[in-house]
Amino acid sequence: MSRPLLEIRDLTVHFPLPRQAPLGRKRTLRAVQGVNLTLNEGECLSIVGESGCGKSTTALTVMGLQEPTSGEILFQGKPLTGPGAPSRKERARIAQMVFQDPYASLNPRQTIGRMLSAQLALHGIARGREAGDRVAAMLKRVGLTSDHADRYPHEFSGGQRQRIGIARALMLDPKILVLDEPVSALDVSIQAQIINLLMDLQETLGLSYIMISHDLSVVEHVSDRVAVMYFGRVVEEGDWHSIFSRPTHPYTRRLIGSVPDPDAILTGARGLPDAAPVPDASRFSPDISRRPNPDEEPEPSALVRIGESHSVRLAQ
């Protein structure tokens, strides 16, 4: 049994909104509300949901780029947030991020080699020739060659840049990679290459992934566990198989049902698998037939277990 590497406990992130009138009531945007997630060692946890559901904010708090309003994040049992939090330098060796847009996330004025070796120097790991060797080895690992180190980002294609983004994230040997839509800016043919690379690296380096994505076919292929977020809350959570074979929350069902799937469309075999049974007289929360208001207190609800490692949010 794998042990928890990262635990997110009751995470809440609120943002103040401007008042609608000069003396109007104070409004807060409840971006993330009471999220509990566990990432086990060597696992890939995916967070799915539409834009604005709080999935990126959750990831940013894991990275330490966003202060939580309340709740805590534990890495191997030690807090990542609050008073006893590690410094940014220590954090950098725990978790690293791969960004969505490989065009915007690389410094256009630095060669790849300089960008990658700067981290090594900053952390006092290696300098000079040794740093160069490490950079070359890393470039080879992500499917590039060592002479790519002398080039600038604009000399690479989108897929190659995403490889560089992955190399950059891996230079300090982090335990966790946060993948923020790692393939959604790439062409279909390149997506397969990057997904294969990520799966290979996970196996060889024993990495744990938190993947944020809205592409459910990628999520199904790569994830071990899946959390579905809707308006700041996790509405359904479980291992990949239960989420995709028994999607239960109406929002999860809508999400999976909206994926345009060529085979299903052309064979006419459009249809969702059956939902798992839920306790009698219970109602799903939130009600997805109307849009919840993110600056209002949500209705009381709880994640209820409906199967082995499969839970869904029901109103209380």
Binding site: E50, S51, G158, D187, V188, S189, I190, Q191, A192, Q193, I195, N196, M199, H214, L216, S217, V218, E220, H221, V222, W240, H241, F244, S245, R254, L255, I256, G257, S258, V259, P260, D261, P262, D263, A264, I265, L266, G268
Partner: protein
């Protein structure tokens, strides 16, 4: 509509592109002789990777190619008229009236300084010679037809006050305001969430079907193409490598590039069967030599209408 095969054969295409070549000057060619037809009421998909030339094909039909890109050879005939022989004025008159376009990013395509009611009304004033007050009334109707809730109120809002899906609906309202014969949709839902995407695609399909509008849908998403199109052209490196009816394309792809493209995407529901294995990469299926620029387009004839739309 009748489902007789002779019916679809006899109809004159709305758009007929022949041996279209686009380049930067004469020597740097980006599009190497693309030919296809779109029949009235047909939804034709162009699918391919970025840089394959699908967007510039769409833009050249609209006459919106920006210098230094230019059409170097070939013809684009729209309802029997050669677009490339028309003057700039005449083409501008056609745009928005007989042919219209929906762009990928609604935020950059809408004017941030004008209310959306005004931006829709503009179409009626320019192309239909209406007065502004009448045009505004028509704009509210147009908003209603794309199912924007409380259209009167929304007509007075600015683009930044709307969500992405609503903005895309506004673009559709603008594009379809004058009931064009051809709609070019360039990645109309790429910037949207999946749940919103489904609604927007359905809206485009429904409105175009009601008016018999022909659609040229440019997309990299095979799922969207399968969902919307009757006939599909696959583009690679500035060439149309294959053109087939949608069903035939997915069941029996002719060109190795198409086979590679179909194999490369992870499919929803495949993991319980195939496991978490490696995905097939495109270059494992198609060799570089097979992607040369001189090979002809592989096509099969259009099938029966009923069969294709079923």
């Amino acid at each position: 509509m009748s489902g007789a095969p002779s019916d679809s054969v006899r109809a004159d295409p709305v758009l007929s592109v022949r041996d279209l070549r686009i380049g930067v000057g004469r020597n740097n060619e980006l599009l190497h002789g693309v030919s296809f037809d779109i029949l009235p009421g047909e939804t034709y998909g162009l699918v391919g990777e970025s840089g394959s030339g699908k967007s510039i094909t769409g833009l050249s039909v609209m006459g919106l190619l920006k210098r230094p890109l230019q059409v170097t050879a070939g013809s684009i005939s729209f309802q029997g008229e050669d677009m490339l022989k028309l003057g700039r004025r005449a083409r501008r008159k056609l745009r928005g009236d007989r042919m219209a376009m929906i762009f990928q990013e609604p935020m950059t395509a809408l004017n941030p300084l004008a209310t959306i009611g005004r931006q829709i009304a503009e179409m009626f004033v320019i192309h239909r010679g209406m007065g502004w007050s009448e045009a505004r009334r028509k704009a509210v109707e147009a908003l209603e037809s794309v199912r924007v809730p409380s259209p009167e109120e929304r007509a007075r809002s600015y683009p930044h006050q709307l969500s992405g899906g609503m903005r895309q609906r506004v673009m559709i309202a603008i594009a379809l305001a004058c009931r064009p014969d051809l709609l070019i949709a360039d990645e109309p839902t790429t910037a949207l969430d999946v749940t919103v995407q489904a609604g927007v695609l359905e809206l485009i399909a429904e409105l175009c079907k009601a008016e018999g509008t022909a659609v040229l849908l440019v997309s990299h998403d095979l799922g969207v193409i399968a969902n919307m199109c009757r006939r599909v052209g696959v583009m690679d490196r500035g060439r149309l490598v294959e053109e087939q009816d949608t069903k035939a394309l997915f069941e029996n792809p002719l060109h190795p590039y198409t086979r590679g493209l179909l194999a490369a995407r992870p499919r929803l529901g495949s993991r319980p069967v195939a496991g978490r294995g490696r995905l097939t990469e495109l270059d494992e299926v198609v060799a570089d030599e097979e992607r040369g620029r001189e090979a002809p387009t592989l096509t099969t004839p259009r099938g029966l209408r009923l069969e294709a739309t079923a």
